[in-house]
Amino acid sequence: MKNDRYFKVLVVLAVIGLVLGSFGVIKTLLYGKHATDLGSYVPWGLWVAVYLFFLGLTAGAFLITILTYVFRVKIFAPIGPLSAFTVLVAIVCEVIIISFDLGHFARAYRFLINPGWYSMIFWMVVFTNAMIVIYALECYFLLRKDLVQWSKEEGRPGQWLYRFLSFGKTEFTEEDEIADHRRVRTLSILSLPVGLIFYGLNGAIFAILLNRPLWNGALTPLLFIVTALLSGGALITLLTYLFRIDDALVHYLGHVVRFLLVVFLFLQFVQFFVGYRTALPITRASLDIIAFGPYWWVFWVVHLLLGSAIPLYLLAAHHTSAKAVAWACFLIVITFIAVRLNFVIPDQAVYKLEGLEATFYHHRLRTTEYFPNLTEWLVSLWVFSLGMLAFLLGSRWLPVIAAGKGEEAHV
């Protein structure tokens, strides 16, 4: 972090977020889904959108570790350990938020004893766990050298932690270093197919559903991979700038983000063009909700203006300025929740049978009335704050930046 003051401010904000968010968490734990504004016709809401948001954040870091340790692109090496750590934090947040969304979280063990082999969600759980294991190990092997060194430094704060994480290892030889980098490379190679399946699979959860005009189709898994790389790439670029790792690297990453943003906007245009030209009533109705519905400003102002047009301008016209690139990436990251909300909700917000809206009146049986309530926002805030705090403390107390220095030599 460039400035220690920023670090402290962010930690305080995260703690405030945790305290405020805990009201929503407690309410959810006490009353379950009753505490939400979800219903049977819009059964997936803000928490699923936040889940997808975190999913995206993991992808950029995934891209960096793959490029660094599989394809040996040296320029990304300094942010390799930071990237692996980011994946780990984001993926844990992803698991936490989606756990809140379950009606019976205590039955999560059912995934083990009654696996639904045909279910995309079952495989999502399998691959999420695989990603956590891969990145936890990768992160550890990238940091171990520095952990051992820090555990020996007398007077270093938190020495007990480094001793604990070193698992009693006091000497770190050159052979150990070579062995650890071999392990990191093996894990990165393994993470390539696992990660691609993981991101595509999350798209497939939606893509395979019948009668879901915006979700159903081969474009969705591809869109998921691109959107994930875009939001994740933007986050890594922002972090590279904030941690003052290398401004040249920020410029390089800025080009990548600009390319991904253009590809994403093109795919989104294709989705709208095909949807409107096909003119199926339910497809048009879903697209109309995005573009002209009660939350039209989420699409036009938050996503297209703040999250796309301004970043694109900054990335194109001011690509030489690391600060401008960082601002562009910051805007992309924070507005990406709008993209996720506009993916998750509009498709559900259209009644799938004519006359369904007039059959049985109850607020849990409406589509247009869903808007995340305070509890849903507070739980989301709690998870965001937890993730931010874990990331801030981890980046301060673990050698995620230090381990990246001179990393090019090992790639």
């Binding site: 889904k33 009606g103 045909y118 079952f122 395979i208 049978l353």
Partner: protein, 250 residues
């Protein structure tokens, strides 16, 4: 005087069909339903009967009656389409369940194992007929004052009706709190608990127009089999290939 009535109520015929079905091996039975929309008067009695039979809480409904307007003024008509779970023979909802909590029985009914359901609601999203609802722990008596003594307060009122769930799937469920069926996906199950004891589903017996026909669609002597031969037969969203076990007569 003849023992047979000059005309027979369809319910008596279906009841007779059901008795015959009970003598068959379970794996030889395939439940089916035919709804004659020309006979449906839109009274919603089936919806109410289903809610009462299964003690459904607010926001949970298994069988709704859709009201459709056909044509344009002045040549406009209204028609009613009751929509239970259509019990697809190729159900999209069972395939998406990550813990195999929902499945198709060998008699063709799609049901939920409440004790296994984790409440991810993927099946709700996957159902093209919006036939599943989630139990969000709503109470009819939520706003009833908490009073004890002579006046029947919330506890008394709730205990009389909604505190004890119905014996769905022929099981006794615990008092409604956080456990199943709260938090679960819930759906029409063709009143399996009634079928087990030789009773027709509640929506069938409550239909004043006798628009809902139920029985074993593999039994050539059954009324439902007879109806399936009608040229008026159709199924909802046939193009999706879900092959519903609930048929309609135009």
């Amino acid at each position: 005087m003849s023992k047979d009535l000059p005309t027979e109520d369809l319910l008596i015929r279906m009841q007779r069909d059901l008795k015959r079905t009970q003598k068959k091996k379970p794996e030889e039975v395939r439940w089916g339903m035919v709804i004659d929309i020309a006979k449906c008067i839109g009274c919603h009695a089936c919806t109410v009967a289903c809610v009462a039979e299964n003690k459904l809480p607010p926001g949970v409904v298994y069988r709704v009656v859709l009201e459709e307007e056909v044509g344009q003024y002045p040549a406009v008509r209204r028609r009613f389409v009751p929509r239970p779970c259509v019990h697809c023979q190729n159900p999209p909802c069972t395939k998406v369940c990550p813990v195999t909590a929902t499945y198709k029985t060998e008699q063709g009914a799609v049901i939920v194992r409440y004790e296994r359901c984790i409440g991810c609601r993927y099946c709700l999203v996957a159902c093209p007929y919006a036939a599943r609802t989630s139990d969000f722990r709503e109470w009819y008596t939520a706003n009833t004052p908490e009073l004890e003594g002579r006046i029947l307060g919330r506890q008394g009122a709730a205990k009389g009706y909604e505190l004890h769930p119905a014996a769905e799937y022929g099981q006794k469920w615990p008092e409604r709190n956080g456990g199943s069926p709260v938090g679960n996906a819930r759906k029409c199950h063709f009143c399996l608990h009634r079928l087990q004891v030789g009773m027709l589903p509640a929506c069938v017996t409550s239909c004043v127009g006798r628009a809902t026909i139920f029985g074993d669609r593999t039994d050539p002597n059954s009324l439902v089999f007879e109806m399936l031969g009608s040229p008026r037969i159709f199924r909802l969203k046939e193009e999706l290939g879900t092959q519903p076990s609930v048929y309609y007569l135009k």
